[in-house]
């Protein structure tokens, strides 16, 4: 860990060969990154996030059944009991030859177990030939759904703040605070990309998306840190080099590693997507597909967005201090 020079023999290899100029179009990259993030956020707001009931609160009951079932009659029967409009959806069952019917509705206090029991009893009595059987159920009161969402948000904010502090301390040699904040900006870039992809594909915002967000949180920051680490090391090796030169060298040295690591992670998620599609358990697609987009964005943002935004920030700081 110590970076003290012992003998020249112990020094790590210095960069040889061509150094790519990552900082050439600094302004352009920053503007594009900001525009992309803003455009995606606007897109997300316009299209609207389709919150799953674990966040929004509400009730969703799925029953398996056989034979023909009058879905309108089921809906009416259910509405009589729960007292709010019920939306009804049917589908084929995964496990057997039967079918499934899904009732969903949102009510102020949710459907507690007593009333759910009542509803199931009433439906099985009203439609005795269809052998209705509860398959899945999910009931969340709007209050606890909101609380979960808020707690997720707070957890992410706390994690982000701690990461900025950690980076600021560990990378104090190369101006840690700004580096930390830029790494969080790159992270937002990736999160927004994954969220936008999930909305584009019509997935609802559910526990899988939470897992995607958490995974990207870890992956994106790690990617950025590996590059910062190279910049920090180059600072010791080339004390006279400008920040732009250090960033260009660091990114060039890390390029191969970034691409190779990304091939394994993105490849794994592509394999997951294909297997899941082939086997029919498509509920996992809402995990693997947004993650692929987040990972692609993460590879790009760690090489361009984080270091370049940071260099632009530092450049502006210098200009200001000169004035």
């Amino acid at each position: 860990m110590s970076s003290k020079k012992k003998t020249t023999h112990e020094e790590p290899a210095k960069i040889t060969g061509k150094v790519y100029d990552f900082c050439a179009k600094k302004k352009l990259i920053v503007i594009v990154a900001v525009c992309v993030v803003l455009a995606l956020i606007v897109g997300i707001v316009i299209r609207g996030v389709n919150l799953a009931i674990e966040f929004e609160g509400g009730t969703m009951l799925t029953y398996s059944y056989v034979g023909d079932l009058d879905t309108n009659a089921v809906g009416n029967e259910a509405e009589n009991i729960v007292g709010v409009p019920v939306s009804v959806r049917t589908g084929e069952s995964l496990d057997s030859d039967g079918y499934q019917i899904t009732l969903s509705f949102t009510s102020e206090e949710g459907l507690n177990a007593d009333r759910q029991f009542e509803l199931t009893e009433a439906l099985t009595t009203a439609f005795p030939d269809n052998q209705l059987e509860l398959f899945d159920s999910n009931d969340v009161s709007p209050a606890s759904g909101r609380e979960f969402l808020l707690k997720c948000l707070l957890a992410m904010i706390v994690a982000a703040v701690l990461i900025i502090i950690y980076i600021a301390i560990r990378f104090s040699k190369i101006g840690g605070w700004s580096a930390g904040i830029c790494s969080i900006f790159a992270l937002c870039h990736d999160l927004v990309a994954a969220l936008a992809a999930s909305i584009l594909f019509g997935f609802e915002f559910n526990a899988n998306i939470v897992a995607v967000i958490l995974t990207i949180l870890g992956y994106s920051i790690n990617n950025t840190i590996v590059i910062y680490d190279r910049i920090r090391e180059n600072r010791t090796l080339f004390p006279k080099a400008s920040l732009n030169e250090l960033i260009n060298m660091g990114c060039t040295q890390s390029l191969k590693r970034s691409i190779r690591t990304s091939i394994t992670t993105i490849g794994t998620m592509i394999i997951v997507s294909i297997v899941v599609l082939a086997s029919g358990y498509t509920s996992l697609l809402s995990f693997s597909v947004p993650l692929i987009f987040g990972l692609i964005s993460g590879t790009y943002s760690s090489l361009f967005v984080a270091p370049v935004t940071w260099s632009w920030w530092k450049g502006n700081e210098k200009k200001k201090s000169k004035n």
């Binding site: 507690n112 992670t265 086997s279």
Partner: protein, 473 residues
């Protein structure tokens, strides 16, 4: 300082990883007589979360915004536990959250019990189940339209020492199911109270009514004074319903009725199918990554594959509870995502060092110093990247852990003070596997891999620089 890694080190490390992996996967149990004693749990014993195995996840809160004390809530949680045991559900998790007056209950489907009626079970769990014997059958209708008994209370469930169920002949000589009660003895006990009440009502037309919460079960008239402390409840029971009532009485009444604020049942077919799909994808992905690493990095790549196997085994071992000092955990789908992320970090660590070794070798250093410098230099990047993931994992474990867990104790009282403990165990599972995976990454991906590469590089056969990605020299 220049102490060289021995040649034998490689074999010791590999033997350790192989033993560790095999014992983690197969577990260790022995047969003594007819009993199998499990010393180490294998992969097949992993507790799967209800999102994989299917099951019930329910949160109870006191009905009508009743403000429960901590003692009442804990008492209620232990009563619910007893009731679950009476239903034969022993594999369950129950947490009481004193801050927001909630009780969280989770249980997976019992093996082979797909027909289980979860709705009925959960409904029964939240019932107050307060047994009362009352003078007369008087009742009134409260504001909500419920029938509420008003007769003077003779006995409550607390006066019952033990309830049972049996068959006895009814007035026509047919066998019927009944619930038998053995009342408590001693000063002010059930036996004494019941004797006094039966003496008072003996020969009158006023019956003693027996209520379970707001439902009247029966109302026998008193024909004799009962001083033996034994009573029988009749009332059109079947074997199941008499057992259920006896179980309810034995597990005692909740201090208040509890209703569900969230209630989730998940069928088993859905989850198991997706687990198979994930496992298949994992095998394919791992095989491809192994080939990829060996092709790109040759000898260090081969070592990386061994290290990755160790890392995966380490994560699984933590989940099964292989390490005696820490309890196992439940594996959920986000937990699998955590494993994927930590394996990704492990692959990344090996790619970083693999690239470094190449760079150093190509700059013309000796094999020894190239390997040494590469590991030393790569470490700071791996350290910082992994520590940030540790931060994330700890925050998640704190925010979404069960109320009694270590990180949750700290964080829920400080950062998340305005929130109650949450019901989302799935996010906790992600934090757990990520944290364990990152720790294993340091042990296997950094430490063990380094030992193996250094040790192998001492063999003449492995000193060809090409094996480390060097140029043709």
């Amino acid at each position: 300082m220049k102490k060289k890694t021995r040649k034998s080190t490689f074999f010791i490390v590999v033997a350790f990883i192989v033993l560790f992996t095999v014992s983690t996967v197969t577990g260790l149990d022995y047969l003594y007589g007819d009993n199998t004693t499990t010393v180490i749990k294998g992969v097949n014993d992993i507790r799967l979360g209800i999102d994989i195995k299917g099951g019930v996840d329910v949160t109870f809160a006191p009905a009508d915004d009743y403000d429960a004390t901590d003692e009442q809530l804990d008492a209620a949680a232990s009563k619910i536990k007893t009731r679950l045991a009476a239903l034969g559900i022993n594999d369950n998790e129950i947490y009481s959250d004193n801050k927001s007056d909630r009780i969280i209950v989770r249980f997976p489907w019992q093996a082979g019990e797909s027909e289980y009626d979860a709705e009925e079970a959960v409904k029964e769990l939240g019932e107050m189940a307060e047994l009362t014997f009352r003078k007369g059958t008087d009742s009134e209708t409260d504001d909500d339209g419920n029938t509420v008994p008003t007769g003077e209370i003779v006995l409550t469930g607390d006066d019952v020492d033990k309830a049972g169920y049996t068959q006895q002949p009814d007035s026509n000589g047919n066998l019927e199911w009944v619930v038998t009660l053995k009342l408590t003895n001693g000063e002010g006990g059930g036996t004494e109270k019941f004797a006094a009440a039966t003496a008072e009502l003996n020969g009158t037309s006023t019956p003693i009514s027996i209520w379970m919460d707001n439902t009247m079960i029966s109302y026998p008239t008193v024909n004799s004074v009962i001083t033996t402390g034994e009573a029988v409840i009749t009332g059109n029971f079947t074997e199941e319903s008499s057992k259920a009532l006896a179980d309810q009485i034995n597990s005692g009444a909740l201090p208040f009725k509890m209703v569900t604020t969230s209630f989730k049942t998940i069928s088993s077919t859905m989850g198991e199918g997706s687990l198979d799909a994930i496992l298949l994808a994992a095998y394919i992905a791992f095989a491809l990554i192994a080939v990829y690493m060996v092709v790109l990095y040759r000898l260090p790549g081969f070592v990386a594959v061994i290290a990755l196997i160790g890392q995966i085994a380490g994560t699984l071992a933590a989940i099964t509870g292989w390490f005696g000092f820490m309890p196992g955990s439940t594996l959920t789908i986000p937990g699998i995502a955590g494993i994927i992320l930590s394996i990704g970090m492990g692959v990344d660590a090996n790619i970083i060092t693999g690239e470094r070794i190449k760079e150093e070798i190509r700059s013309g250093k000796s094999l020894d110093s190239a390997i040494r410098i590469a590991y030393k230099r790569a470490f700071s990047a791996i350290l910082d990247g992994n520590i940030t993931n540790v931060i994330i994992a700890i925050i998640l474990m704190g925010a979404f852990g069960v109320p009694s867990s270590f990180f949750s104790q700290i964080l829920n009282k400080t950062v998340f003070f305005m929130f109650g403990a949450t019901t989302e165990g799935v996010v906790y599972s992600f934090g757990f596997t990520l944290l364990v995976g990152v720790v294993c990454n340091f042990i296997f991906g950094v430490f063990a891999a380094q030992l193996m590469v250094k040790s192998l590089s001492r063999f003449k056969a492995f000193q060809n620089r090409k094996l480390y990605g060097g140029d043709t020299k």
